[in-house]
Subunit: 443 residues, 4 copies
């Protein structure tokens, strides 16, 4: 099937694995091919169901074998692709285009579409991808299989098919339990914690897909406040009194959590934030400002690298270089140690507080990056969505996790509907939108 040496090797490889020891995945692959053939059409749903049942029996190792087979045996035939591409180049008409797209689309896409016909098919495909992502490091060429999963899931989990739902204390317990489990940003410690987050001055919204009606895909937690929050603790502490509604004039997104590892890379957060902003604006006409209180997960690692790579310092301004020196002197060795040491060194951190602020701003503004844009994933998410970086909060998150990741720093991003698009365009072309205040920190 494949012309290239690599392809041949892959086939041999799979073939060998497909000895008696891989009876199960071999049987599954056979069922998949049957499902793809004409033969399967008349009883499509039950065949899909049987095929998924075979998948359910696979061990982790078996799954890898299956994924490799998806790569080796369900890819486009290069010669056929070339032939149809040549014909299309000669005469780009409907018939040639149809032949081309038929040849160029990996057969595993149609396979997934047919598997999806089974009851619970979508759920299984999402969890199949979760395993595939786990397996990816074991054979980088599985990337092409994941490309097809990603392509289809992106199409199926199109925002037009998602349903937004408010989650509150009237929501079934089975769903609330999932929130407790999935909370990614500020661990929910239990039902009481959660309860506080669902009271009158808090909102929680989730996206659902009709094919997974009981499982949230992603959820966002919002605090209704009267000023931009500087720290996470007051927002999530169980004891705090709910604010009266009359006081709300700002909504702060303080937590966004993805619940489905199998949907990694399927953009939903962007759409969710904007829909929630719309819903809140409608419910609270006096709420005009939308911001986040966000972690800076990569700051400490970046800082350690910067301190280590003396050479890199050349590409940065003198202010930044001086700040690096200051931090090195004050807490350099501590950065390599555990959270307890960091926490104990409160006063040392205070000594280099200004330097740390300068460096945190530098990190988020992409100082020293080849393309001028930060590597911080949370920052990239919000900036790409069109938010503006507004304010650093040095004592934003003094939990173990906060200290470990970012020495306690958090940051507010501001979503202003009028400038969202312009900011996004700037960001795409390499410019980070940030307040004067933040810019001033790097000198």
């Amino acid at each position: 099937m494949f012309g290239s040496i690599k392809g041949i090797r892959a086939i041999r490889d799979t073939a060998r694995r497909f000895g008696s020891e891989y009876a199960k995945p071999r049987k599954l692959v056979k069922a998949c091919k049957q499902l793809l053939s004409e033969r399967g059409e008349a009883s499509g749903v039950s065949h899909a169901q049987e095929t998924l049942a075979l998948y359910a029996e696979l061990s982790r190792e078996d799954q890898l074998v299956f994924f490799l087979a998806l790569k080796n045996e369900f890819s486009p035939d290069p010669q056929q692709v070339l032939a149809t591409a040549t014909a299309y180049a000669t005469s780009p008409d409907s018939a040639h285009l149809a032949a081309l797209t038929r040849a160029a689309e990996p057969a595993r896409q149609e396979l997934l579409r047919r598997l999806n016909r089974a009851p619970g098919g979508t759920r299984t495909i999402v969890s199949m991808r979760e395993r595939l992502l786990d397996a990816l490091p074991r054979d980088r060429e599985l990337q092409q299989v994941d490309d097809d999963f990603h392509h289809l899931l992106q199409s199926w989990f199109n925002p037009g098919f998602l349903r937004i739902a408010r989650v509150d204390w009237n929501t079934p317990a089975t769903l609330l339990e999932q929130l407790i489990r999935h909370e990614a940003v500020d661990e929910i410690r239990g039902w009481n914690d959660l309860r506080r987050r669902l009271q009158g001055d808090r909102r929680c919204f989730a996206f659902f897909h009709p094919a997974l009606p009981d499982e949230p895909l992603i959820f966002v937690e919002v605090a209704l406040l009267n000023e931009m929050p500087a720290a996470i603790e007051p927002l999530i502490t169980v004891d705090s009194e709910p604010n009266p509604a009359a006081d709300f004039n700002l909504a702060a997104f303080y937590s966004i959590s993805n619940c489905q590892p199998g949907l990694r890379g399927i953009s939903m957060g962007n759409f969710l934030i904007k829909q929630v902003a719309g819903l809140l604006a409608a419910e609270f006409p006096r709420v005009k400002r939308f911001c986040t209180l966000s972690p800076i997960p990569g700051f400490r690692d970046w800082l350690r690298r910067m301190l280590a790579e003396a050479g890199r310092a050349d590409t940065v301004s003198q202010t930044v270089r001086q700040s690096l020196d200051g931090v090195q002197r004050a807490i350099g060795p501590l950065l390599e140690k555990g959270v307890n040491e960091l926490r104990a060194a409160d006063r040392l951190r205070e000594k280099c507080a200004k330097d740390l602020e300068c460096l945190c701003a530098a990190y988020l503004l992409g100082v020293g990056e080849p393309d001028g844009v930060t590597r911080d994933p949370v920052a990239r998410f919000h900036l790409n969505n069109g938010a503006r970086m507004d304010r650093l909060n040095p004592a934003g998150d003094l939990s173990d996790k906060g200290l470990k990741q970012s020495l306690g720093f958090m940051v507010n991003y501001v979503y202003d509907l009028k400038t969202i698009e312009r900011n996004h365009e700037k960001f795409v072309s390499g410019t980070t939108e940030a307040s004067k205040q933040v810019r001033a920190l790097v000198g």
Copy 2:
């Protein structure tokens, strides 16, 4: 963009149309390109909404111009396709495959996915395709645009995403009204008619898609009986008494109607019939047989052609030829006349009753067809689903429509779960599964 002469002509063509007189579609095309560019991502939903609003303003003529632009300006670039295909043929790895599929997938697919993000997007895309299908005869090359609509809608309206729902007298009136409007097979004449079809010995099921929650996609009507029905009138007459449940041992599908012209060619009926059979088997354990009472929409036209094309008769058996002669003598000229003449000639039809049965069987068995398979669309649908042709009913439908289409003939197809798949395979390879009784008719 296109290398071929045809492509260039197409562009010129569109360009000309895109003079001042086509301001609206031109504006829409521009919006579509913006939506596809990076630029559109930050406020995807609202851009999609604005773009669909531009589409809503187009006249029929404008729509044609837009569809032509979709063909001319959103197709794969042949040279780029060729380059990536060549690279992939040289080294069929993930990166080359990704480049290939990116190049080979028409940009209008991604365009439709992005339009789908808007509220009501799916609904608009389905109705857009309805217009496109209308426009197809005006430029056959629009086929490639429709291929992409079809491809995406097939993926989105995957049976795994459809919800089956029973329709009964507790269903909201707004939905029942749609059934009255869409009934394709035996016109429902009003609320009383419909009511009879929703009583205890009747069932009606429909498929719904979450993105069109208020609109049935396809529905099927079933009568619960104790013998295979030979005529449609007793099933749909308003006055008939409901059968007591104790008597049911057979379910007859007597009407299947598609409600969305924009979903033409998206296979759903197959899945619906099988799911309904499953539901009925669960509700009525004593119902063991599933059949249809189906129209034969192409019989009369085929008969007229057969009578006209004397030469064709060579490929058919002597029995058939004799029957053709018999019919020609008895009612030949009448076949060219209206329903009233046909109805008046009751006794003439009786005279050639045997001949007509022979010919109707011949038509449905594909006698004289190059591939040995009938052209009748309803027959092809059920045979391809794995049903068996069971019995001809000469006086099955004596309504105007029934006489006009098939001289009153109807036919029962039988769905037997055990043989469904085998029958389907046979049909695919050119053999029609039919009862001895039917076969015997052609001698």
Copy 3:
């Protein structure tokens, strides 16, 4: 059990009827007594169910026998009542009061409460009362049985237990069908008629009780308009175009229908009108006026009586007397004839138009009534609710029914929340609140 002669006679009477020919009601009465005894408590629900099953088997005649037994054998014991009343008069404490109320409450009340425990019990009790009301004329002493049905149903169908629901084209067909059947004021002729009444400029609301979830108790139909309507036809004609919402400033109640004859005399219409007014005021802030367009069902009969009873005319003013003379001359004899004659006499009616208006106003203002209040049931309903009589509409309803009942007259009542209570009080003390315009008609 009874001390009085009448009581004894009643018992004998029932006893005779309870010969072999009344085996069924006798069995039912026995079951009722068992249900009331201690014995019934442990399996209350199933006993209640069995008892209702016995009732379901009764013929009309049997039902009468049963109702008579409810009167004769489930009434308070007069001697026991007297004894407890005497004790209470001597010492009005809790124990004596408890004994008194136990003795004075007819046992059939507790019987009904226990019957109500059965599934569907409430429904059966409501339909039982429907039969009882039918039977009332056959023995006026059944009144005391009906008093207990009324007492309990009034308590159970308390407005606090009713649920208001908007009825529209999304409502299940089974419920809409009931509206078509129950429409009391302006006969709905079918689905198309109904459809018009559920469009954007119309509203329909119904009261439901949780124990009869699928059956409306009473419903009201409202037209949203920009002026007070003068005739019913334009409101209910199928062809009329819906008014745009921007134009609404007035809501006209044009039909109120009770659906449950077994709930006669249980006041609900009053509460429904006021709740609907509240809902409409919330949905359409610009709708400030609420009125009715109401029939005058008793006008023609009153008029005939007035013309016949010359003596009665003494108690009325000279204007009224002159109008009576005018009408007598113009159409006196016609009033005794059928609708067709009345319709044909259009011009004669025109001739005495002023006189008819005077008399219609007189009728509605209670002219000549001993207590000064009209006997018209619709007028009494709205006036007692606190509405004001606002305008006569001589050509309000020219349908057969309208001509027959009121020679075509209709009337508008106006509901003004500010004066509702004052008007009601006036009405209770014998004064009818009416506009100057109406008052002026009687001179």
Copy 4:
């Protein structure tokens, strides 16, 4: 208004309290009288609402004053009662009966019915009664007021109006939280505890009333098992593994909790148990036996009294007297001490184990009671429902509460549909249905 001296004193009493210091309840009483007068009818709902708003402002002391006024000023007039009773005794016809019942029914009943018209009225009336029950000990004559609350609530919370609902992990959290709060029998310690009680081998059902849709009235917890349980701990421990459904053949009611103190004495548990048994029998055809695992809340107190009252021992058998001696010797003094001492004395309890069993059986069988029936409230509830006392479980509940109440004893009652009614009748006439095994214990 009242003729008796007691009545007059009551009026004076209230009058005095109604000085300036009781302005609020006085205002409320005035509103109540207005609501009862004709005046209130036209805007009944809003008047009821205003009146309830006045109630909401009352302090506890004010509430007492209001309840006293309900007693003093809304009771039947003794003279009027006497007059109508005399008339009815003379001639027991419908008119006299109507006059009698009007006179004999306390006006506060109609008052409550009118208050009930307000939104949320039922809820307020239920909580009003909760306060009234609290106040009862302060003036025993308030009993007559409570009689009327009880009478109406009994009628309104008729089983025919209640809705049974299964509670599981899909139930809204707000409702589950109420279960945690109200669990009366075996304290639910939190969400994890609750979760175990809602898994596959457990069931929880609750009764709801349409006027309090979010508040369970009473709920019952059931364990599906394969043998009658002897101890509560294994049923409620969080760690236990759910039993597979195939093993179920018995359902054990292990907890029944009332949630509304304001509905005290309104019988619902009886009906709930029987409905649940029906639902379980339908869901699990193999579950044929229904039993409880019940506490014996009064055992220890009874035992202490028996040990103290030497004289009482005369009425009991010799076996019982010997057992009392045995227990006195072994743990007599300990019974007056705390739980810890009891727990520490494990071995002493073992020493008199037989004697304790004998005495527990004696207690539950009503030994020594004048009417031969136990005073234990839980036993009386189940026996009156028609259950049979089946087995004592000496180590049924070793929690603090279990030791304190019943020295660890629990008991199983068995519900057998075939004998329920017979058992109930026996119980009513003073005979306790118990197994031979239990009877044998008392010798």
